[in-house]
């Protein structure tokens, strides 16, 4: 419910929605910017102009129909598998943490991690291409060795918010986790 402006690592604006359901349960929803109609139109016209050029060269109408089909299928695949609309994090004290990402077509992918498997939530640094970014991650406990970390689960992997957003999420999560 904050109006502070958050951006992701590339500078695009994102929104953070924060709901506190109880003293033990909070939910964070990070929404990415939607697909803009301008990009869609540019991409589609690029493909169709190219197909028309090939048609003028080869005089084969199958090129045009295949271009249309490719565009449609490509867009369907993009919104169903690639474009993430929002990612949410539901922290329930003494039960676990649920990560969920929902795609532009409405599909949701959820995973739940039990509290007993979670060692800690930390903000870590990573080298990402040519930059160093901060990301929030969950450290999972190794079942064999209590003090070792078996794996790392990054949070908000596609929205990639910046540090100010991460710090806010981090503080609230630490409050809940440290209580139980």
């Amino acid at each position: 419910m904050d109006d502070e402006k958050y951006t992701d690592i590339n500078g695009k604006p994102i929104t953070l929605d924060y709901q506190r359901h109880s003293s033990f349960c909070t939910e964070f929803i990070v929404s990415s910017p939607k697909v803009s109609i301008g990009t869609v139109m540019v991409a589609t016209s690029f493909v169709w102009i190219f197909a028309y050029a090939v048609f003028c060269l080869t005089d084969n109408t199958a090129v045009l129909s295949s271009a249309i089909i490719i565009t449609l299928i490509g867009m369907m695949l993009y919104i169903h598998f690639v474009k993430i609309d929002h990612e949410s994090l539901l922290v329930i004290g003494s039960l676990g943490i649920q990560l969920s990402s929902s795609y532009a077509s409405g599909r949701e992918h959820t995973s739940f991690i039990e509290m007993s498997k979670i060692k800690d939530i930390v903000i870590n640094e990573a080298i990402y291409m040519h930059q160093i970014i901060y990301y929030l991650c969950i450290l999972l406990r190794d079942p064999a060795d209590a003090s070792a970390v078996s794996s790392v689960v990054p949070l908000f992997p596609s929205s990639k918010p910046r540090l100010n957003c991460l710090v806010k999420v981090y503080k609230t999560c630490q409050e809940i986790i440290s209580k139980c």
Binding site: S22, C25, I92, S94, L95, Q98, H109, E114
Partner: protein
């Protein structure tokens, strides 16, 4: 400490009564498995619980009371309070809900010591109690977690003291699941073994069905006869193309100048080989249709059968290409080996077989002279041999690629988990990889309500987890090793299994 209560969704609308379930040890978690409606006879309830406990070895006990007050029931509050004296428990859970609201309110009451279980009084129960009454179900109603037929999602509630997530009823069948309902262990899945068997069976059936479809397509309209009569000319054409290729190599291929004598020798050798092969095929020609007819019938055993047969037939028909590849590879390999050895002679070194390393060596003059001669001969003959080797290796790789595609499709038909995918599409709650939560009600006065649902496995994970393992032999070499072998001239066996056979 946070208190969690797991509550079946069907019991959400149950009439007031007794909560029956179990406490999970050490976690302050209660799992409600059933609600026994008012009115009931406490002694029959106790007998029933004992019977259930004996049958299933799950410590089922009375957890507390559930009240959803409606207008018809009077005296309910006092009844519910008195229940505590009848069922002595360490902790008593009181859950209540208003009609029309989603929020629950829960309270946990410790039982004071000294209150023993009293006798059974008359609560307006319709049946007299007494000894030896079996079949307790006849005497009271209850809603339990499987009332809705399958695993229903469950509500949970949380109160000021803590949080109650819900637990979906885990386990299939049976009143009390043997793998206990633990906090989020609702990885409810079919036991793995019968699913794999079902997968194999369905794959085989699908295979046979596809094979029969293939047969019905092939044996119609004389397709098979046409195929058989087209096969001989096709083989002839392949041989003719090969002959033309060899003639091209014997000339000046791609502008390269070959060594004339060696070229002629190799070219004539390979041409003779092709001539032999064509004669062999011509011998086979009259029997071809019969062979194809019976071969096609084998598809009744499954499409994979027909595809494997096709792969074998392809290997037989292109046997001459395989032979050429072997000849070319051996020649090239020997030439390279000779060249390496003579190069070492040039530099005054020798390969020490005992020590597996290169040592310096003192050669005689005549050894050096002959060595140099041979070196130059081999070096100048290298392009010719290398070109023949290259051409035949390309041909062999093309045939191997075709065979590989056939093998891959056979493998795909065999290992694809059709049954598991069907389950995933029609009954996704059976193949679950976890649970997911959704907040239902977070009103400040009541407990926090979460809805817990089965999180079905994704399609990709279904295919990966339930793939039937097949015994196909994949190429044992990696790409790097393959390239190295090709460069050196070592023979490449794409379908060799990793056994301890010696060559």
């Amino acid at each position: 400490m946070v208190l969690k209560v797991f509550f079946p969704q069907c019991c959400n609308r149950a009439a007031s009564g007794l909560l029956v379930g179990r406490w999970l040890p050490g976690r302050d978690t209660a799992v409600v498995l059933a609600v026994i409606h008012y009115p009931f006879i406490p002694s029959t309830v106790k007998q029933y619980l004992q019977k259930v406990q004996a049958q299933s070895q799950v410590p089922v006990e009375v957890l507390g009371s559930w009240s959803m007050p409606s207008e018809k029931q009077e005296g309910l509050d006092s009844f519910l309070r008195d229940l505590r004296t009848i069922f002595p428990q360490g902790r008593w859970l009181q859950v209540s809900r208003e009609v029309g609201k989603t929020g629950f309110s829960c309270q946990l009451l410790p039982l004071a010591l000294g209150e023993g279980g009293g006798g059974v009084g008359g609560f307006g129960a319709s049946c007299p109690h007494g000894g030896g009454m079996e079949g307790g179900l006849n005497y009271f109603e209850m809603s339990h977690w499987q009332s809705e037929g399958r695993e229903a999602s469950i509500h949970g509630g949380a109160d000021e003291a803590g949080l109650h997530p819900a637990l979906p009823a885990a386990g299939l069948g049976g009143w009390a699941p043997s793998h206990a309902v633990s906090v989020v262990s609702a990885v409810l899945s079919y036991r793995l073994c019968p699913l794999r068997k079902a997968n194999v069976l369905v794959s085989v059936l699908l295979d046979v069905f596809l094979g029969l479809l293939f047969i019905s397509w092939l044996y119609r309209e004389q397709r098979l006869a046409r195929l058989a009569s087209a096969l001989m000319p096709a083989a002839d054409r392949v041989s003719k193309e090969l002959q033309e290729l060899l003639q091209w190599l014997m000339g000046a291929p791609a502008g390269l100048k070959m060594n004339r004598a060696l070229d002629q020798v190799l070219g004539r050798f390979f041409l003779y080989h092709i001539h032999l092969w064509i004669s062999y095929l011509r011998l086979l020609a009259p029997f071809l249709e019969v062979i194809l007819w019976y071969g096609g019938l084998s598809a009744a055993l499954g499409l994979t059968f027909a595809l494997s047969l096709l792969s074998d037939m392809l290997a037989l028909l292109t046997f001459h290409i395989y032979c050429f590849y072997v000849y070319g590879a051996r020649l090239y390999c020997m030439k390279l080996y000779g060249l390496c050895s003579l190069w070492r002679l040039f530099r005054g070194r020798k390969w020490n077989v005992l020590r597996q390393r290169v040592d310096s060596c003192c050669y005689d003059l005549d050894q050096l002279f002959i060595g140099t001669l041979l070196f130059t001969i081999l070096l100048f003959l290298l392009p010719t041999t290398a070109l023949y080797y290259l051409v035949f290796t390309m041909l062999r790789l093309m045939v191997v690629a075709l065979q590989g595609m056939l093998h891959l499709s056979v493998d795909l038909i065999n290992s694809f988990p059709v049954f598991a995918l069907g389950l995933r599409v029609f009954t996704p709650y059976r193949l679950a990889e976890g649970v997911k939560f959704r907040v239902l009600s977070d009103e400040p006065g009541t407990a926090l309500h979460l809805l817990m649902e089965m999180n079905a496995l994704g399609f990709g994970s279904v295919v990966q987890t339930y793939r039937t393992p097949t015994y196909s032999c994949y190429p044992p070499d990696s790409w790097g090793a393959l390239l190295r072998k090709l460069f050196v001239g070592e023979l490449v066996f794409p379908w060799k299994r990793k056994t301890t056979k010696t060559d």
